[in-house]
Structures are given as structure tokens and as C-alpha cells.
């Protein structure tokens, strides 16, 4: 079976490259367990603001800021899971 990467996950990888300026090779090597906040120097609380808005634009979702807690950016997997849930919720 050919490996098809989920489109939402691909979008999140592109966001990390575009918004944070993380090297593409670093982003390509990320797995669900890769820690983000605190481990990725490019990801500070100011960068999160731009990341959320760009995520809304590219995935056509709305993010209520009350949905956001510290765990969201804990790992690459938690960020992708959040995005997938938002995409699924819009139907």
C-alpha cells in the first residue's frame, strides 16, 4: 500500500517551516513524540500567535483562544491531533 501522508499533517509541517523558519530537514524528521514548546527555540509565545492565525487560514478552521492550553504545543503529535480535530469538526 502506498504511503499517503495526511493532508492536515503536511500542512502543519509546512507551517513550521514557513512561520517559524525551522529547517525543512528538521521538520521532516519530526514524529508524534517530538517535543515542540520549550524544545524548539523558534517557537516562543509570540510565534504561537502567528502560527495559530496562519493555521486558521490554511486549514480553513476557527480557533477559539480558550481552546489553547500548554499541552497543545507540547509535541508535534499533539499539535497535529488538535488540527485534525478542528478540521473534522467543521464537517
Amino acid at each position: 500500500m502506498p504511503f499517503v501522508e495526511d493532508q492536515t499533517e503536511t500542512t502543519i509541517r509546512e507551517l513550521l517551516i514557513d512561520v517559524l523558519g525551522v529547517a525543512p530537514a528538521t521538520v521532516a524528521a519530526m514524529t508524534n513524540e517530538t517535543p515542540l514548546f520549550g524544545a524548539l527555540p523558534e517557537l516562543d509565545s509570540m510565534a504561537v500567535a502567528g502560527l495559530l492565525t496562519e493555521m486558521e487560514d490554511r486549514l480553513d478552521i476557527m480557533i477559539d483562544d480558550s481552546d489553547i492550553d500548554g499541552e497543545l504545543f507540547e509535541t508535534f503529535g499533539s499539535l497535529v491531533a488538535f488540527a485534525k480535530a478542528k478540521v473534522a469538526a467543521k464537517g
Partner: protein
């Protein structure tokens, strides 16, 4: 001629400055930059792009909007209409032949009846939402709990400080509903398609990208030779 020069233009009773290259060339492209913090992050890339245009025999001018950079008027007195008037006045007084705007620049570039080029045009609501999120994040780090609703309430009554950017009520109200206007002679460009580069305007720190500067200059040269002027 490779040295920059600093022309000024008059709008709303004050004088504003610009940065320009290549006064003697026939084509003169007015650059309308992204707005607010996004402008600061791409200024160097844009100026390098203007140097590349100059080498290709194309003149260009980067406008200082009232309330920004060298301007003596407070930013909080400005809104999208005053900036639209500034772009129109500047284009007319300086003799622009083409308009090129990036991101939020596309919200204020529609005055002059000239050929337009846009890169990654942004909606006003996107820009203001990011600024508000940055303010909330900054407040949180300082131990203050701020809500978007409370900030918008403040913004309705007086100037709101969003990470050092003080915006007046009319600016925030206008941004909330602003979208780039449809224009008759419009070339819209996307990153990764016609233009090589990455969205430097989204980065936390200002950065440079020589490849992107060269790519934009090449595209603007080709486009501006094909229309107007």
C-alpha cells in the same frame, strides 16, 4: 545610479518620506509594503529587491506610511482611508507607473489607476487577529489575563496598544472588515509558484532572503515591461 535617494510626498498637511532607487528610469514602481510588524520583518528583503530592480533599469520607491518609520504623526491617528490617500498622493506626486503591494499593502493600494501587482494579499481580519493574539500572549507572560473581548471593547473607545503598535478605533474597525479590492489590471502572485521564497512577514524576527529579493525583482521587471508605463 546605484545610490538610494529619499524623496518626500505631501498628504493630509504633513510631509512623509520614502526610500527610492533609479530616478532616471522610465518605469517607476511604487512599493506598498505589508502593514505594522510585518513591514519591519521584510524591509531589508524589499530594499535588496529594489536594488536588484535598479540594476535591471527599473526605478522603485518604498513608501513610508503616515505614522510609520520617519513619520512625525502618531500612528493612532491613522486608518485605512488615510493610508489609501497617502498611497494615491505619493503615486501621483512621484509619477509612479506601476503599483506593487504585499500582504496588507493590498488593502490600501487601490487608489491609483495604474497596473497593480500583489504578492500574498492578506485580509484585515487576519492581520488584526494576529496582533491581538500577540498582545494576549505578551500579557500572559507578564502575569496578566487579557481576553480578546476586553481588548476589542477598549479598541472601540480609544487607542489600543498591540505589542507596541498603537492603533486607533477607526483603524481597528476598518481592518476587521477589510479585504483587498478587486482591480481591473491586477497580477496576483503566490509564494512557491511565481515567486521563490518564504513568508518572511510571519517570522518572529526580521530576516533576509537574497533569492527571494532576486525572484521578486525578476517577476516585477517582466510584468512591468508588459503593461502600463
Amino acid at each position: 545610479m546605484t545610490a538610494p535617494y529619499y524623496p518626500s510626498y505631501a498628504v493630509g498637511g504633513q510631509t512623509e518620506q520614502c526610500l527610492a532607487f533609479g530616478a532616471d528610469y522610465q518605469r517607476q514602481i511604487l512599493i506598498v509594503p505589508p502593514l505594522f510588524d510585518e513591514m519591519n520583518r521584510v524591509r531589508r528583503m524589499l530594499v535588496e529587491m529594489m536594488r536588484a530592480l535598479n540594476q535591471r533599469g527599473v526605478g522603485s520607491l518604498l513608501i513610508d506610511l503616515p505614522g510609520c518609520n520617519e513619520s512625525l504623526v502618531p500612528l493612532e491617528t491613522q486608518d485605512l482611508n488615510s493610508w489609501r490617500a497617502a498611497v494615491s498622493s505619493c503615486a501621483q506626486q512621484w509619477g509612479a507607473t506601476h503599483i506593487a503591494s504585499l500582504r496588507g499593502g493590498a488593502l490600501i493600494d487601490d487608489g491609483p489607476s495604474l497596473p497593480h501587482w500583489r504578492l500574498a494579499p492578506a485580509k484585515g481580519s487576519t492581520i488584526v487577529k494576529t496582533l491581538i493574539r500577540m498582545r494576549i500572549a505578551g500579557d500572559k507572560e507578564a502575569g496578566r489575563d487579557t481576553s480578546e473581548a476586553a481588548l476589542m471593547d477598549t479598541a472601540a473607545r480609544g487607542p489600543l496598544d498591540l505589542g507596541g503598535i498603537r492603533l486607533g478605533p477607526s483603524m481597528i474597525a476598518a481592518l476587521a472588515n477589510a479585504a483587498p479590492f478587486a482591480l481591473p489590471e491586477l497580477a496576483e502572485r503566490k509564494l512557491g509558484e511565481e515567486i521563490i521564497g518564504s513568508p518572511l512577514w510571519l517570522r518572529a524576527e526580521p530576516q533576509d532572503d537574497a533569492t527571494m529579493s532576486a525572484s521578486i525583482a525578476e517577476d516585477l521587471d517582466r510584468w512591468s515591461a508588459s503593461c502600463g508605463g
